[in-house]
């Protein structure tokens, strides 16, 4: 029988956790810190291996009998095909520059969340199998056998990386740790290890063109609702077109903005602006998703899902494409699309603003520009009439969404838009621009079951928001990513209650003065405008 400690004895407890080497510390799957596995139905749709019902807390993960051979063959194949992977496996000198840059490490203190150690999970197996030193001296050189516990560790930690690439900014060798995670997830997928929050959207997107699995008539219904709301607020009725051949521009938003608040408000702002500028654009009910969860699955899946962008642009015969306020979508579009599915179809031209005549030469390869580039250019040329007083009461800050910031250097355009629309303040230097902190929910981790881990990983971002909230009274966190808009509200509710989340174009839409509009009394959220309330008072 164990003796109950007296209160004073409790204080004598040694609070230090037992010290074991990282290689000998197995993963403990606790609810709240991992994501549920992909459903077999989703895997069947895209022809992914080993569909089955299972849970990470199960002892037996129902792996294929030759799982080890599959993984090692898969690794060998990828080492042959991708020189970058081979380089990333060999070149790290474990300098530690990345160690304290990961938001999951900063929030948890779990050493395996240090990017160097996360990569080491894969590297240790690589050394054992493919280097002489690893074969001969194993543990001495950080090499180890691939076993089921190692595989479980991979699953836990590679689905605990948001592929945000903050660590890569600090790596003197430029190791792209997100690509290591991507490759590790590819390997895990070979034996059926994946998560539902990724595989659900991937299979839905493969069937219908968007993450939710909404069919063309549902897409039109949703846009109709958005158009109705705009009319209620502004008195202006927008006339949208779908799948219209011969339009100049194809506009592709992330589907999250079509179906969920606060993204819909940002979409409203964009559609209002396009209307006001008389843009000749069309929407596609097939190419109804800018986002691409294939990025979080495998490069082949990413390519399959991305193919629709150019296919639809070709079918409709547009001149170029404008993409919406999405995050990871832009890593795919800016860094991978041209290689995967390029060159762009011959009907596409280098994007040129029909309003200002600006040619976006930065997009001469992809023929696709980010909506904030388009809008910032309009503002630069004084083409937009704005009444920023309609945003009175909103004090904003700007969260650089990881991928637009780090994967395409989109840093100043969103800020330029905010400058014209709203009172706003920067967060501290180490937490913005290319050093921005992730929301903690990217790369498919924004599901509800992973909430505790998300709050942990999002803390560094929330902490910087807290600073400007206390210093400047910030009550709105603006961003240009649909995952951010889905994930950050919960993060703010936990760490900074009273701070709301919006897209940059929501604030623009609030301020936008439209021809023929009625007197605006409400913002895009149907909340009374504060400037009018002040006038009345």
């Amino acid at each position: 029988m164990a003796k109950l400690p007296k209160p004073e004895e409790l204080t004598k407890i040694d609070f230090k956790p037992p010290v074991t080497s990282w290689m000998d510390t197995p993963v403990d799957f606790k609810p709240g810190t991992f994501s549920y596995p992909g459903r077999p139905e989703s895997l069947n749709i895209i022809g992914f291996p080993n569909p089955r019902q299972w849970q990470p807390t199960d002892d037996d993960w129902q792996l294929p009998e030759n799982w080890k051979e599959i993984i090692l063959d898969g690794l060998r194949d990828r080492l042959d095909r991708f020189r970058s992977l081979k380089l990333f496996m060999d070149v790290c000198v474990r300098c530690g520059a990345c160690a304290d840059k990961c938001h999951f490490f900063l929030g948890s203190g779990d050493p395996k969340n240090m990017p160097v150690l996360r990569a080491e999970l894969l590297r240790s197996v690589y050394r054992k199998e493919y280097t002489l030193a690893g074969k001969l001296m194993a543990k001495m050189v950080g090499a180890r056998e691939l076993t089921v516990p190692v595989l479980k560790e991979w699953f836990y930690y590679f689905f605990q990386c948001t592929e945000c690439r903050r660590c890569s900014v600090y790596c003197p060798y430029g190791i792209d740790t997100a690509e290591i995670t991507m490759l590790a997830r590819e390997l895990l997928n070979l034996v059926g290890l994946n998560i539902n929050w990724v595989m659900g959207p991937v299979s839905a997107c493969y069937r219908t063109g968007n993450h939710l699995g909404i069919q063309p008539h549902g897409i039109v219904d949703s846009f109709d609702m958005v158009v109705d709301d705009i009319e209620d607020i502004t008195g202006v009725r927008l006339d949208l077109s779908y799948n219209r051949k011969g339009a100049e521009i194809l506009y592709v938003p992330p589907s999250g903005d079509v179906f969920a608040t606060p993204g819909t408000y940002s979409l409203m702002g964009q559609l209002m602006l396009f209307h006001e500028m008389g843009l000749d654009y069309t929407l596609s009910t097939y190419n109804s998703e800018g986002g691409n969860f294939g990025l979080f699955t495998s490069n082949e899946m990413m390519k399959r899902l991305n193919a629709k962008i150019y296919a639809e642009a070709q079918r409709l015969g547009v001149k170029y494409i404008i993409g919406g306020e999405c995050g990871h979508m832009w890593r795919v579009l800016n860094q991978y699309m041209d290689t995967m599915n390029g060159p762009a179809p011959a009907n596409l031209e280098v994007p040129k603003s029909p309003v200002t005549g600006t040619v976006f030469e930065n997009a001469s390869a992809t023929k696709m520009i980010h909506v904030t580039e388009f809008t910032a250019d309009l503002l630069r040329h004084n083409k937009v009439k704005l009444d920023p007083s309609r945003n009175k009461g909103i004090i904003a800050t700007y969260h650089d969404s990881c991928n637009p910031a780090r994967a395409m250097g989109l840093l100043d355009e969103p800020r330029y838009i905010l400058d014209h629309c709203v009172e706003w303040y920067e967060m501290p230097e180490d937490t913005i621009r290319e050093k921005t902190f992730c929301c903690g929910s990217g790369a498919g981790l924004g599901n509800d079951e992973n909430m505790e881990m998300r709050m942990r990983g999002g803390f560094p971002r929330a902490n910087a928001v807290k600073y400007v909230k206390e210093k400047h009274g910030v009550n709105m966190l603006a961003c240009i990513c649909a995952i951010d808009r889905a994930a950050l509200p919960a993060l703010m509710d936990y760490w900074n209650p009273g701070v709301d989340v919006c897209g940059v174009h929501e604030l623009l839409g609030n301020a936008l003065v439209m021809k023929g509009e009625k007197k605006r009394e409400e913002n895009l959220r149907f909340e009374p405008l504060q400037n009018l309330e002040d006038e009345e008072a």
Binding site: T11, K12, D100, P111, N196, D448, M451, P460, N463
Partner: protein, 186 residues
Amino acid sequence: MGQENLKQLMEKNHGALLKAWFEQVIGAYSDEAHKYFAKVDNEFSNPVGSNIYRALDQLLAELHGEADADALYRHLEMIMRIRAVQDMKPSRAVAFMFAFKAILRKQFADEIAAGKVTEADLRDMDGNLDTLGLMAFDLYMESKNLIYELRIKQIKETNDMLQKANLLNESLDASSFMRCSNYIEE
């Protein structure tokens, strides 16, 4: 004089007590984390360490000052928000409050032996720390509840969105919801 004496001593030794207390708290993390959490000069590159350090500093000032309940609650809140999302048992999350009793006794061992700090003083301070320990537990539970609420909110919002899009049929997410409820029951 009694209570005044201990409080004055604590105020005079604020730095040493804070250092020992902070060390106790961050000692609960792994060696690697301990190394980084100990660097409190940049609150943005080390949010956990610097927030805990600042909160302990303020708690300590209240303990040897006014001991204002609202202020103590506010300072404790940040620490407990952090610890509620970290990988530790509730007992460990709140233990630092009780562990401070031992820190006090160690710091003032000579004064206690010499009778400068009375038993009554110590009992009063212990009482305050017990109250704070219970307050910490309240805050820990409040934070955990908030996480569950946020989780339910997301499930409901997803549900509403699917319903709006006419997608809430038998095949879509029923099994996911079942699995969610299985977890909650466990």
